[in-house]
Amino acid sequence: MRDHILVCQFDEDLVRKFHNQRLVIILSDFNQVQQAHKLVNDCQNNLHCLVIDHAGSLASVPFHEKWRGIPLALFVSEIGAFKEVMGKLPLLRDLNIRIFLSTDNKENCTGLHILASLGIDCGVSFGEKEIDWEAMNDLMTYSIYGKVNHASIEPFQFIARNYNPARLTDLSSVYFDNPYTYIHIDKNENIALTANDLKEGKFILKGIENVHKIFEDEKYQEALNAWQKFLLKENGCAYCQAWRICIGKFSESADKNPGCRQFFTDLMEAADHFISVQQKNKRKEVWQP
């Protein structure tokens, strides 16, 4: 049985309580980057990633040389002034960072296209507003089929890399929100299965010492099988061929904006293509002296 990766807000007291724990720390300020990194290491924990949700543009982020080597997931509103970003490109390329842009800004699909083509790993952050699935499809097509070397765009790469027709592929992992891998904890040590559950006070356990007991918890098992609720409906996502890679993530908007069906169907095709290319390019392993 594997250990979960814990996701929490940056709180020094909380972090000090962990030991030998893989952590995702959500920061509220860029100034906390080095501090959080140091603290996690000092407490002999393993930093999986620092997450920063920045309301401003990528151009306005004060990137720092000392961020090198620190795993970062940076959510920004947009690219912003292109020339500013270009000025930061050499450093950006050196950082262990993925830039997420929200679908709430229609220009961001293009933003991600630009970033990936310049070698900056990036990702789609699915927002509240209606998603332009056609634009998303173009971006996915570029991400998977693009002939020229470019950086990865999530969650497309995640799906392509992890897709296995024999099981469900949950893109929530890209956003540290898949209870199979990640669980969420607050400074009062309340434990929840998703970020939203934590926000809404739907706790499953309390106390760091109880984290390992989560596997015995019935609610946890239910959460892992939550996808089955779609199989109990007369219509909807379970009747879609691509459900195995979206697991109904967009079910609430699917009636009004059904483009998700075609998008995920195409993504599944792309994942098939990705696998076949990998198999084709698999190098023969020869004995080594």
């Binding site: 027709p165 379970a238 009747y239 879609c240």
Partner: protein
Amino acid sequence: MATIIFKPTEKCNSNCIYCDVVTRKKPKTMSLDLLEHIFKNIDGYLKAMPQEHVQLIWHGGEPLLLGEDYFIKALEFQEKHCKETKHRVNHAIQSNLTLINENFLNIFRKLGINQVGTSFEPIPNLRGPGAKRDSATYNRQFLKGINMLEKNNFGWGFIYVVTKRSLKRPLDIFFFLSNLKLTGGFMLNPVLVYGEDKENIGLTQEEYADFLGAIFPYWWKHRDRYPQVNPFKMFVENIVEKKITTGCEDTGKCAYGHVYIGPSGEASQCGRAGDWEIISYGNINERSLLEIMQDEQREQFLKRNDILLNGECKGCPYWEFCHGGCPLDSFIKHKNFMHQTNRCEGKKLFLEKYFIPITGINSNRCVEKPLMSPFDEHCRA
């Protein structure tokens, strides 16, 4: 291998629209004495036939209604009466999974069962308990059952019964079923209606062929994604790999291979023959399993192959697919077994209208006039 379709109970906790076992007669359950007697008979049969194996398929009704103790008893009887032959007894089970629990699974393991056959229906109110067929409750329990099987590393596969209600959205149903079991592992069977079609669920052969035909192009294109979907896979294996993978009704080999034993010990050719009381091999209380397996009435099923090959099925390129179909279907239509069935027509329709044009693969498994197969060396030459 002798296959025993074993129905120790006709009781069921579900009232599926396509099953009349529960409503047609008062459901009975086999006594433990008779259960013990059957294991003695299995032992006797296997001792008389030292090269033979027996597959005991627990069927029903819903066999889990028998309770855990009943299966424990079965295990005890096997240990007691089949000491020297038990390694030649294989158990299998068909269940609706709504009652499954860890205790059952522990017993199943001891019986050597590591996978369970079941069936499922996404269209509401076709399966489920009560007059209204509460499919919501049924399906919730079913999914719990699946979770339990998977948690305990049991395999499972299922049958989907195609009815008139399925015809509106074949691809949707296919997607649903393949989402339920991601690699496939299911069989699309046409509903079997014996007598009056009170629920108006029966299909014409064309309707069944068109249902399969609506799914087949997609399946063919993505067959690596859904490797275990039948009858498609069986057709491909049959033609390309020349495997005899058809279901029991199409093998033409059921004559001495199958037996049905019902809750009172009544014996027949198979589950359908027993349910519909089409043919009787007497009762295991009065005849040994060996006698039943060698009943002279069985010979007619062997002869049927010759009669059809030289008669109605002569020259049919699809003989290897169906062998004239299930003799019982012939009986339903003609009141004797010696005709081909109208399910042949359905298969032929599917092959000619969909399979061959879509795959470009021809069958050369014919009797007199083989069609070319692109997979044959001599065809390439």
